[in-house]
């Protein structure tokens, strides 16, 4: 790289009147960056033209391709959670509550959060690295100069796909986790799938399902936004691709946990 490397480095000096530690300044700058990025996403999402083909492709890449990983994780979590609960609850004579407990844990918390974390690891880093390398090899600039809106083509499609696909993945993962739980119970005792489902769903109400599904949209949105932001704003140089991917995973995982905390609190107020 010749001149480009130098000239594209971001200005690191702020012109603030007050003094903040450099790391804090960076932190706040990142918050503002993410927020304006998310804001821009919503604006561009609504403006035509729509990149329908690319969106479908991202649905496929982000949703369908993540399914095996999410399915395996969900299955194992359902299985182990059930296997570990049976002896404990049996001690209190409440073994019959195992399906209900597993279903509550999986649908309310473990399913959404674990799936989102896996998703953040796979998709957050994937988007971060992909957009990062496109940035580094000037592909994003190339789109820009050819009169296309790269934000619309690259960012909006990916964030939208992540927002829509994660809830779908969580729902499927929940179902698979419950199936894992069903198999685990059958290792101890024979239960029909119907009996298991009836007792599993016994204590689940809409006021459980609605916040649990709502938060997965927010998880998907935040993972998409962070991944795209990090990739889209990667500085030049190959190492920045790795940094973008890494930062995307770290921040989006943290966001998932934070959103989860806020949403649990919020839903306990609303419902």
């Amino acid at each position: 790289m010749s001149s480009t490397e130098k000239v594209n480095k971001k200005e690191s000096k702020s012109t603030l009147k007050f003094k903040l530690p450099a790391s804090l300044e960076e932190f706040f700058a990142k918050i503002a960056g993410l927020a304006s990025f998310a804001f821009k996403f919503f604006i561009e999402l609504l403006k035509p033209p729509y990149e329908i083909n690319e969106t479908l492709k991202q649905f496929f890449m982000i949703g369908y391709k993540s399914f095996p990983l999410v399915a395996i994780t969900g299955f194992i979590i359902g299985l182990t959670l059930t296997l570990q609960s049976i002896p404990t609850l049996d001690k209190f004579g409440a073994a019959s509550l195992v399906p209900s407990m597993v279903a509550l844990a999986v649908i309310l918390e473990i399913g959404p959060v674990i799936t989102a974390l896996i998703f953040a690891g796979k998709i957050g880093s994937g988007i971060g690295a992909e957009l990062g390398s496109m940035k580094v090899t000037e592909q994003i600039d190339a789109m820009e100069v050819s009169g296309t809106n790269p934000f619309k083509y690259l960012v909006v499609t990916r964030i939208f796909a992540a927002t829509i696909m994660l809830p779908l993945l969580v729902i499927l993962s929940d179902a698979i986790a419950l199936f894992g739980g069903f198999l685990a119970i059958n290792m101890f005792d024979y239960t029909s799938l119907k009996t298991f489902l009836v007792s599993a769903m016994a204590n689940i109400t809409f006021s459980d399902i609605i916040p649990a599904v709502t938060k997965t949209f927010l998880f998907g949105l935040s993972i998409g936004v962070v991944g795209c932001y990090e990739g889209y704003n990667a500085s030049r140089g190959t190492e920045s691709v790795g940094i973008a991917a890494n930062t995307a995973v770290v921040i989006s995982s943290l966001m998932v946990i934070l959103i989860d905390m806020v949403m649990v609190q919020l839903s306990s107020i609303i419902f």
Binding site: S2, S3, V7, E11, S12, P49, M143, V145, G147
Partner: protein, 249 residues
Amino acid sequence: MGDLKNEDEILRISKLKKAFGSNTVLSDVDLNVKKGETVVILGRSGTGKSVILKCIIGLIFPDSGSIEIFGEDFLNIKQDEKSKLRIRIGFLFQAGALYDSMTVRQNLEFPIIRQPDYKKSDLSGKVEEMLENVGLAEAIDKMPSELSGGMQKRIGLARTLMLEPEIILYDEPTTGLDPVTSNEISHLILDMQKKLNVTSLIVTHDMQCAKLVSNRIVVLKEGKFTAEGTFEELEKSEDEFVNGFFKFE
């Protein structure tokens, strides 16, 4: 540069300034380019030659100065106006900047099908024609990763030509290529100019290329153009800095 002030000027840059932090890259750049002209910008690495090109296309916003393209004040127009102007400007990136998730055909189609007034008929045979122009018709269904650096640049040029720009900005078109391929690319640029009568602005260190394609050469030093002339004029220059570029001729 008084003699250049005529109606054919499609690009006027004046008093362009750009600094990155404390590092002033461009201090006072003035450049006018006439229609059909090929201007080569010479300068040492890291002195901001590419920055000029990126300011023209709008990838970098200058601190001050003005850029006028096709008679429009490029720095003070709306985004959609800017997009329309950009279509008339081609930009060839250093490494070609091919979209590596798409085939060569998709790469070439990409800018066309996203134009607001795109019609399917615009596309028929055009991809093949452009690939023919750069001599890579057989690569149409290959992925960019399967192509060599020189081929990627040629495909990049073909993609740039798809929108039939009136002015093409070349960012170091021959850098990193072997002399034979460099020569091929230089000839390709020349061919395109003759064939399509496009205006060109080329940033390069490759004197072979400069000699072959340039009508005029400007030399960038410390953020200003310090010398200007045809290849032959500058070759005879007494200036030590300018001479440095021609030493190894």
